[in-house]
């Protein structure tokens, strides 16, 4: 479903990603962990070309998205992305946040999009907030809207960049619950997170990133219970203590 070959990314002289190879299959839940500044966000953002790789190839559904001829907007339309800071559209109601893209891209009629949006809102437990504006919602509610907004596009893949890092602790649970539900429904997910509990429970595979490469990868059991790499060990001992 997503294939990454020899991915490099530099910001000016800062060589952030230094050769990443990875294959994510349909329905797989991949959790990316690693210290801050190791390039996790950059890696995720390369997957939908929010960052342009300096080298390497990325395939989504066997389409080479790093090829300049690729219609990236069409590819992005089937890849949802959830941001650390939600990035909801503050000038639109919750419902409009969900319906804007599907209607603007003429994927759904206004009626279809609204029906779908209401269904999604009830799925994330916010159907009564349809006409509220983002700033009237708590952080946890905003992030659930963020997830619903991505789902409104009927994506095949969902990318999460630290979806709970900006939340007050008491709101982390409600967002993780929505993500868990999504995982159970069979969504292909790539999740950057510091929630190790979520990783252990939901991930099919865990990637440990450091210094712009995937230092170690494996099942949650392998990574958390029997890490091989020294870096992985020291990182885990820090975050799990």
């Amino acid at each position: 479903m997503i294939r990454v070959e020899n991915l490099h990314k530099s910001f000016k002289t800062n060589h952030v990603l230094r050769g990443i190879n990875e294959h994510i299959t349909q329905g797989e839940k991949v959790v990316v962990i690693g210290p801050s500044g190791s390039g996790k966000s950059t890696f995720l953002r390369c997957l939908n070309l929010l960052e342009k790789p300096t080298e390497g190839r990325i395939y989504v559904d066997d389409e080479c998205i790093t090829d300049p001829k690729c219609n990236i907007n069409a590819v992005r339309a089937k890849m949802g992305m959830v941001f650390q800071h939600f990035n909801l559209f503050p000038h639109l109601t919750v419902l409009q946040n969900l319906t804007l893209a599907p209607t603007l891209l003429k994927l759904q009629t206004k009626e279809q999009a609204e029906a779908k949006a209401r269904a999604l809102l009830s799925r994330v437990g916010l159907e009564e907030k349809a006409d509220a504006y983002p700033k009237q919602l708590s952080g946890g509610q905003q992030q659930r809207v963020g997830i619903a907004r991505s789902l409104a596009m009927n994506p095949e893949i969902m990318l999460f960049d630290e979806p709970t890092s900006a939340l007050d602790p008491e709101m982390v649970g409600e967002v993780l619950a929505v993500m868990r539900q999504l995982a159970e429904d069979g969504m292909t997910m790539v999740v950057v997170t510091h929630e190790m509990g979520f990783a252990k429970e939901v991930a099919d595979r865990v990637l440990f990133m450091d210094e712009g490469i995937i230092m170690e990868k494996g099942t949650p059991k392998e990574i958390f219970e029997n890490p091989q790499n020294e870096r992985t060990k020291s990182f885990l001992s820090k975050v799990l203590s």
Partner: protein, 243 residues
Amino acid sequence: MVSALMLRERIKMMEWFLNTDLWHSIYASLIEGERWKMLLNGLGTTLIITIGAMALGTVLGIILALCKISKIKPLKWISSFYIDVIRGTPVVVQLLIMYFVIFASWNVNKTLIAIIAFGLNSAAYVAEIIRAGILGVDKGQMEAGRSLGLTHAQTMARIIMPQAIKSILPTYANEFIVLVKETAVAGYIAIEDLTKMGDIIRSKTYEALIPLLIVALIYLFITSILSKVFKRLEERMRASDSR
């Protein structure tokens, strides 16, 4: 007896009042030779130039702003260069160049030349106002829009601009008000705008204070009306924002 005396006193007072230099001067500036019509025509010209220039400046300013924030290098350079040149030189000089150089051998209406000159000038300022407004929107908004598959243009139109407009409007309104006053130099190319008309009346009446004071008051009136209108608009936007 008494009342007749008082009446005479009163008439005397009124005569005195009417005969003062002040009233004579106002009379000469406005009524004599129907000079108020000159001022009205001048005001009309001033407003036409202002509105025309603002329209041109807005359209061109939007284009310049989009060029300046675009990723296409030559567009960036051209718009930056244009903005720097316009903002770094006096508008009077630009007006004179427009009239005596660029349109020198063409028979173009002077008011139109002024509209173009002030419009091209205003565009540079409007561009910077719009650019600042767009850059003021959190860049996560563009990323969110793009991540949903919207094009850059769609995201700009539906997500970025509606948010940017809130910070753009107050400074944009101010630019409008500045422009009303700035067009007062149109007389340099012999356009009979409000200021020029005041000056013509001054030279005819040999009386400087009153005609110029009247002109100043008209400017003040126009600018304060504009600033009230814009403030009202802004308040309405803020009200709809605090939902």
